[in-house]
């Protein structure tokens, strides 16, 4: 009986592992390293890389700039309705990205909620690079906020109190104590959010379209090349796997990334 159960567990683990590893490994079997570099030289790939890096950089900077103080407030202050806000912050995590794309349309599209106001200033967002930035920011920000809130929650409150009694105004307490102590968790959350933003597909294709050199990001280029030039699609995919693997290794290596690392998770999520 015990042996049977142990065998069952072993088989289940092996199947799960094989199922997850096989598609990833298959990409590298199909792409010799030389072809990989060659495919990255194609116009489509280079354009997509530029669009991806530019939009992700702008979106990520905005998420960090706005998200960090917001996470500090949500992580440290206790007020009525905090639970509701935390749930709202996490809601995009469970939504299909396509829903995010439709939502962005409904908000910023020509017929959308803010469409009239934007139109009055001559601003058109859908199918521009600004739309890509909005889509990426919308999809990645819950990842950052969640991790950042947990990181700030994990800071010992008596340290912040001590800083206050030592004459530090709230701004200095944040900069000198809370921020450095949460830095590990913030960096981890930032890395995860960045990865999620770079991989963003559904919201972008609906809200921004897939115009080469303008709104076609790397994931969209994979989709576009899938039918035309499968090898290029494979090469871009391989690039993502390498970047993703490096990121995960970094997360596991640095103990201060403990906030989000699955195996070392010491803190409950903020909800």
């Amino acid at each position: 009986m015990r042996a049977a159960f142990a065998a069952l567990c072993a088989v289940a683990t092996a199947v799960a592992l094989a199922f997850l590893v096989l598609p990833v490994a298959a990409i590298f079997f199909r792409v010799p390293p030389g072809d990989l570099l060659g495919a990255l030289g194609h116009d489509v790939t280079r354009d997509a890389l530029v669009v991806s890096l530019k939009t992700s950089a702008i979106a990520h900077a905005a998420v960090l700039l706005v998200g960090t103080p917001a996470a500090y407030v949500l992580g440290r202050k206790r007020f009525r309705g905090r639970g509701v806000i935390l749930t709202l912050v996490e809601l995009p995590l469970v939504l299909p990205p396509a829903v995010a794309g439709i939502g962005l349309f409904a908000a910023f599209g020509r017929m959308g909620l803010l469409g009239g106001e934007l139109d009055a200033f001559g601003i058109q967002i859908p199918f521009t690079q600004a739309a890509v930035v909005l889509a990426v920011a919308f999809v990645e920000s819950p990842f950052y906020l969640r991790g950042a809130i947990a990181a700030f929650e994990a800071v010992d409150g008596s340290l912040l109190d001590a800083a206050r009694t030592l004459g530090a105004a709230p701004g200095r307490v944040f900069a000198r104590i809370a921020l450095p102590l949460a830095a590990g968790g913030l960096a981890a959350a930032s890395a995860l959010a960045l990865a999620r933003g770079l991989g963003e597909f559904g919201a972008t294709i609906i809200f921004a379209g897939s115009l080469q050199g303008v709104t076609q990001t790397l994931p969209l280029a994979i989709y576009a090349q899938f039918e035309q030039d499968f090898d290029t699609a494979l090469a871009i995919s391989a690039l993502f796997i390498i970047v993703g693997a490096l990121l995960l290794v970094a997360l596991k290596l640095y103990p201060w990334f403990r906030f989000v690392s699955i195996s070392r998770s010491r803190f409950a999520p903020s909800t």
């Binding site: 340290l159 109190d161 001590a162 800083a163 206050r164 009694t165 030592l166 530090a168 000198r176």
Partner: protein, 344 residues
């Protein structure tokens, strides 16, 4: 002379803390069981908690006045706060911790005064409990505060460093001569460090006095137990020679010098009780035959728990008598060492 005056009411989850205190250039200890609201008082003084009513003033400066809607922020109040477990900034060195709130000119002198110069470049995680306490004190003093707040400053220390650290802290507090509010659950720490002690229970001051006052005439059984006493219950009746005989509920009759009658509580301090194999022929009136339940060594002394009461004797006496758990023994104390509590 700067003094700290507070008269406040602070709602907590289960009860309100309400107390009035006037602390001059002295160390005032708030002693009480955990959850009595001691730390909340410190937080209110530091501006980290907001009282519902009352005033907090330091010298001429009003820090809080509910009526006048004055509530200075923590960084505007001149307090040096030593937190429980010290709350040292883990990412900063000792030097940076101390310099965080202070003037640069004071830094070297403070590190020297507290004997932590060699630790200047060390991170808090590498320090011992006693060293951490000194860093926390240096950091709290770096701003030149008008008031010092100490929250359980001894609780993070292991028992054998406690004695030395207590003596050092005592000397430092005398030298500073600042109004100091000390919070502790340990009456021994309070008695060793404080000029006056207030016993705080469920948010109210039960008794305020010098440590000697509280030991000599505890207001109630709770205060007596907190001060470490055996509290025995019984029925008192007048006896010859102006003494009072108390028939204890546990059986034996003992004699006390205080007058009383009817149900009463008898307070006997463990260090007033001596032990012997046979009733000694001495001046003590009370010789109670009892049995040893347990022996606990405490440095050079030992606590000997009997069925009726607890005695504290030197380890030298313990070795001489060769006592062991389960053995019969005679506990002796004078009638003047059996204090009768006034009827509440």
């Amino acid at each position: 002379m700067v003094s700290l005056r507070l008269d406040l009411s602070l709602p907590l989850r289960a009860f309100d803390v309400a107390l009035a205190l006037d602390v001059g250039a002295e160390t005032f200890a708030l002693v009480g069981p955990s959850g009595a609201g001691k730390t909340s008082v410190l937080r209110a003084v530091a501006g980290l908690a907001r009282p519902a009513q009352g005033t907090i003033a330091c010298g001429d400066a009003t820090w809080f006045d509910a009526g006048l809607r004055i509530n200075l922020r923590p960084e505007q109040r001149s307090v040096g706060y030593v937190f429980q477990e010290y709350a040292l900034f883990p990412h900063l060195t000792v030097e940076q911790n101390v310099a965080f709130g202070g003037e640069a000119g004071r830094l070297d002198r403070l590190l020297w005064r507290l004997g932590i110069e060699e630790l200047a470049k060390t991170k808090p995680s590498e320090l011992s409990g006693g060293e951490r306490q000194r860093v926390a004190l240096a950091r709290a003093l770096a701003r030149g505060p008008s008031v010092l707040l100490l929250d359980e400053p001894m609780s993070a220390l292991d028992p054998h460093t406690r004695g030395n650290v207590r003596a050092e802290l005592h000397d430092l507090l005398r030298e500073l001569a600042l109004p100091t509010l000390l919070v502790t659950h340990d009456f021994e720490d309070a008695a060793a460090l404080a000029d006056r002690v207030g016993v705080l229970v469920d948010g109210r001051l039960r008794q305020v006095g010098t440590p000697a006052d509280l030991l000599g005439s505890p207001a109630d059984p709770f205060v007596a137990r907190l001060a470490g006493a055996n509290v025995l219950t019984g029925v008192a009746a007048p006896a010859p020679n102006g003494l009072t005989a108390v028939l204890l509920d546990a059986g034996p009759t003992i004699y006390a010098a205080d007058p009383s009658s009817g149900r009463t509580e008898v307070v006997v301090y463990p260090w007033d009780v001596s032990l012997a194999r046979e009733p000694p022929d001495d001046s003590a009136l009370n010789h109670v035959r009892d049995e040893i339940v347990s022996l606990t060594p405490l440095g050079n002394r030992a606590r000997v728990r009997l069925r009726l009461l607890t005695a504290e004797i030197t380890t030298a006496s313990l070795e001489r008598l060769q006592l062991a758990a389960g053995e019969p023994v005679v506990a002796s104390f004078k009638a003047t060492q059996a204090r009768l509590l006034p009827r509440g």
